[in-house]
């Protein structure tokens, strides 16, 4: 495994997407190559740090505000005609 092979494999390996044999080869390389190992650590630590991002709690009013906006949407939606066709826009040309 060369350094460029290792860099190519690291991303997949931390996602569990590398099969046993290439993973062993990668691991052996990482034990011997400080720069690739540092790269692997970067990928792992950033992934882990982001996965531990604390959840933000949405404001309590959010659902109510969404519901109000949807009420407006529902009220402004024009009903389809009896054949189920959507309402057509009355353009200026058709009005002439």
């Amino acid at each position: 495994v060369t350094c460029s092979d290792a860099v190519r494999l690291i991303g997949s390996a931390i996602e569990g997407g590398v099969s046993r044999r290439p993973l062993r080869a990668l691991t052996t390389h990482l034990e011997q190559c400080q720069s690739c190992c540092a790269e692997a650590m970067t990928q792992i630590l950033v992934k882990r740090t982001l996965a531990a991002t604390p959840d933000a709690r949405p404001p309590d009013t959010l659902v109510e505000k969404i519901a109000r906006r949807l009420d407006v949407e529902t009220a402004s939606a024009k009903p389809a005609d009896r054949r189920g066709r959507p309402p057509q826009k009355k353009t200026a040309a058709r009005l002439v």
Partner: protein
């Protein structure tokens, strides 16, 4: 199987109650997604409303080719993208400084919960990434979506997603230096049963050629 299927089907048939249930299920993840994509923007609440209004308008046409969650996240990404474009234009004309995660402006943590400070620091770091990379790293590392789902959402090949994600993490590392989450090293992680590896690399057991990890010893 999409766990939302029943409600999505009912919502697509015009059930407002079913859509309201989807809002209840997804308000929190969408709110967090929008915050992460905007760098903790004050407009996040309004943007989340826009996301659900757009989804409500479009749900009749949802064919179920992807999971509802992926579809909804796609809408959120589009809403945020439009918002960021407008904000950049507005800031360019007004001379205002855009969000600058690299500026090192860390909020005073004395009066804030640690989690809030931590989240804000992460949001600021994410805001410094190019939008194209930020979307990927947020979907994968913050929200845990699978590569294939992400590839569908951003309409890019899986290989492109992987390589961009790699770059995104490289760029984030210096900005997250004070926040990195260490864990006790795992002694070897080669999967015992199947043919694929675990999700951690064995190099963690002896970081970087047996020398002490340059990022400090694990305190666990």
């Amino acid at each position: 199987v999409d766990p939302d299927r029943t409600f999505v089907t009912q919502a697509a048939a015009g059930s407002r109650e079913a859509f309201d249930e989807l809002v209840r299920r997804y308000r929190r993840p969408v709110y967090n997604l929008v915050r992460a994509l905007t760098g903790g923007d004050d407009d996040a609440e309004d943007l989340v409303q826009d996301v659900f209004v757009r989804a409500f308008r479009a749900v009749r046409g949802f064919r179920g080719d992807s999971a509802f969650k992926s579809w909804l996240y796609r809408i959120a990404i589009n809403v945020v993208h439009t918002h960021l474009q407008r904000r950049r234009t507005r800031d360019a004309f007004s001379g205002a400084r855009t969000v600058d995660a690299a500026s090192g402006d860390v909020p005073n943590g004395d009066d804030l919960e640690e989690a809030v400070v931590r989240r804000q620091a992460i949001e600021r770091a994410l805001a410094a990434l190019p939008e194209q990379l930020r979307v990927l790293v947020v979907l994968r590392d913050v929200h845990g979506l699978k590569y294939d789902e992400i590839a569908k959402i951003v309409k890019s090949p899986r290989g492109t997603v992987e390589s961009r994600l790699f770059r995104a993490r490289q760029q984030l590392r210096p900005m997250l230096e004070s926040l990195v989450v260490m864990r006790p090293p795992v002694a070897g992680s080669v999967a015992a049963e199947d043919d694929t590896a675990g999700s951690e690399l064995a190099c963690e057991a002896s970081p970087c050629g047996g020398k002490e990890d340059e990022y400090g010893k694990d305190d666990g």
